[in-house]
């Protein structure tokens, strides 16, 4: 993996944007390193655990790397990466939702033991399963807005940029997502326990 020098300040960002648009191998390596965690995390939060998670991350990077020549503004790089990732996830969610309706069964590729992992305890596994099960029932845009804002801790502005929507629309989606999530969570004690616990902070 190419090692490159981290640059600081807005000049640095512009320089990287320039290098990326020129397709320099080192800049590409830097790009993959810099955003691999962000993309993997966005895909997880937006879609949950899936057998094809790594393929999706791969697909996002192929799209990103294929469009690097269009990069002009290093300051907006992260927003652009989020946008491409979210678009890929949204397209997939919508396609799967259509397919599910047509076939009357779930086409989700969630692995049977998707969240079973030595690194997680039983409560964590239960929490992840319950959360994503509820999110599965939300409209694609509501689900994505909820995931970006609450799971990825993006601000309203950042969520709007990533989704290509206005902040007002994102606020409406979030409001609807909270309402629908809470409705569905009523029958899941673990979720209600977390939602209504006294704040530690």
């Amino acid at each position: 993996m190419g090692q490159v020098v981290p640059l600081r300040g807005s000049d640095g960002a512009r320089t990287w944007a320039q290098r990326l648009s020129e397709g320099q191998p080192a800049a590409r390596a830097w790009f993959v390193q810099q955003f691999s965690h962000h993309v993997a995390s966005l895909v997880y939060s937006t879609l949950g655990s899936r057998t094809d998670h790594d393929d999706l991350v791969q697909q996002v990077f192929l799209e990103l790397l294929g469009s690097l020549s269009t990069v002009r503004d290093g300051e907006r790089l992260k927003g652009w990466v989020s946008q491409v990732t979210v678009n890929t996830c949204r397209t997939l969610l919508r396609r799967e939702r259509r397919g599910r309706w047509l076939r009357l069964f779930s086409s989700s590729e969630e692995a049977p033991e998707a969240w079973a992992d030595d690194r997680l305890d039983a409560r964590q596994v239960a929490l992840l399963k319950a959360t994503y099960s509820v999110l599965e029932g939300l409209d694609a845009d509501e689900r994505i807005a909820f995931s970006l804002h609450y799971l990825e801790e993006l601000s309203i502005d950042e969520t709007a940029t990533a989704m290509g929507l206005s902040t007002a629309t994102v606020k409406r989606r979030l409001s609807a997502a909270r309402e629908h999530f809470r409705e569905a969570a009523q029958s899941v004690p673990l979720l209600m326990e977390v939602l209504e616990a006294a704040d530690e902070r």
Binding site: P6, S10, Q24, S36, V57
Partner: protein, 404 residues
């Protein structure tokens, strides 16, 4: 924030913490796999376009001329046996790769390399570490690529030696005949001709003979790593340029302390970081203390391994929220950001979490630096805040200038 919103934020944090190890593992996998496949994919993409154009020509041309079969891809032997594309070659003794077009590549002892692609016009040879001597047969359409560490050397017919030392991050290229085009960190696309030698390492230097354009002055100044140089003054005793204390002096060995921690404490940062990257970063991120992770993150940042540095800082933030180390990691993440806006976000996080922390002065000064170009109005506020608290601080002059 409403109680409802707070509940969802709490849920979000719990979900994020729970899935963090899975995301870490996926991200690490992506770093290796995505880069390689993306590079292949780019080539395939170009190849598809070229193929489409070629097919069109063939269809048109076939009306008048007889179609000739495509030339076969180059074959090659590793020592005395047939080689395979994609196979890693790692010998303790030198081993020759002999190609069917007459080109040869001698891999030095302890070199790890693979032929990643072979066409009728040439091949792509990737060197993960070690040394090679190449002798490439020239023809009008010859196209060879050598990926030596993070550097790329494009060849049309030549003889050269190249090496990559991943531990010292050192790249050497010596042209014996012909010319090549090389590119990579610290090195914009540059033609190197016979008689020239290139030596790029943490201490940038060019060696000997007329290296006309390939001098440190010719390289972009922002690409220069912050490593030591013979012309630099020694670092200040307490605080380095970025405001973070340098590696602490050697400390007595603690029982059970991994060797990479000992290396870092002894000041051998490149070695310590390399050990972690080779032995498994994920295990370290999940198992070590906040202090060890900060030690790793700071060292990785100083030796220009941004991915490792960033992963270690992020692990501290995730695993030890609300700790002083978590705030300190926010400051480190600020230093790593290529974008002024992102850097400000992290410095601001540090100031929020540790308003009286030992790096508060530096964090506010750094914020001011980036705001001067991006947010002149906010820069004035920051400048006032800075001068109120640290009228004699290192950024005081800058702050006064911002208020003029």
């Amino acid at each position: 924030m409403s109680a409802d919103d707070a509940g969802f934020r709490r849920l979000g944090r719990a979900v994020r913490d729970a899935q963090a190890p899975l995301v870490d593992a996926a991200a690490l996998a992506a770093r290796g796999v995505d880069e390689r496949s993306a590079r292949r994919s780019t080539r395939v993409g170009v190849g598809v376009v070229a193929l489409a154009a070629a097919l069109l020509l063939v269809v048109v041309g076939a009306l008048a001329v007889r179609i000739t079969p495509p030339a076969p891809s180059l074959g090659f032997e590793v020592g005395d046996r047939a080689g395979m594309v994609g196979e890693w070659v790692a010998n303790t003794a030198p081993v020759p790769l002999a190609f069917s077009d007459g080109s040869s590549v001698l891999l030095g002892a302890d070199t790890r390399a693979q032929v990643t692609n072979a066409t009728a016009r040439g091949a792509t040879v990737r060197v993960e570490r070690g040394h090679l001597s190449a002798s490439i047969m020239h023809a009008d359409t010859t196209a060879w690529t050598f990926e030596v560490g993070p550097y790329e050397v494009l060849v049309t017919g030549t003889r050269f030696d190249a090496s990559w030392d991943p531990v010292r991050q050192k790249f050497e290229l010596k042209l014996l005949e012909g010319s090549v085009v090389a590119s990579g960190p610290q090195l914009p696309r540059k033609r190197v001709v016979a008689g020239q030698q290139l030596d790029l390492s943490p201490v940038p230097q060019t060696v000997d003979r007329p290296l006309e354009a390939i001098t440190p002055e010719a390289l972009p100044s922002e690409a220069m790593p912050p490593g030591p140089s013979t012309t630099q003054e020694p670092p200040p005793p307490q605080t380095s340029r970025d405001g973070v204390s340098p590696a602490p002096p050697r400390s007595p060995r603690s029982p059970g302390e991994p060797t990479w921690v000992r290396s870092l404490r002894a000041g051998d940062e490149a070695d310590g970081v390399d050990q972690v990257e080779r032995s498994g970063l994920l295990k370290v991120l999940q198992g070590r203390t906040a202090k060890d992770l900060l030690l790793l993150a700071d060292a990785a940042r100083r030796v220009s391994h941004p991915a490792t540095s960033s992963a270690a800082y992020e692990a501290v933030r995730r695993r030890f929220p609300r700790s002083s180390e978590s705030a300190r990691a926010a400051f480190g993440l600020g230093l790593l950001q290529p974008s002024g806006a992102e850097a400000r976000r992290w410095f601001s996080t540090y100031l929020r979490e540790a308003p009286d922390g030992s790096l508060a002065r530096e964090a506010l000064g750094r914020m001011l630096e980036t705001q001067l170009t991006d947010e002149p109005l906010q820069a004035k506020d920051t400048a006032r805040r800075y001068l109120e608290r640290w009228p004699q601080g290192p950024h005081a002059r800058l702050a006064k200038k911002a208020l003029e």
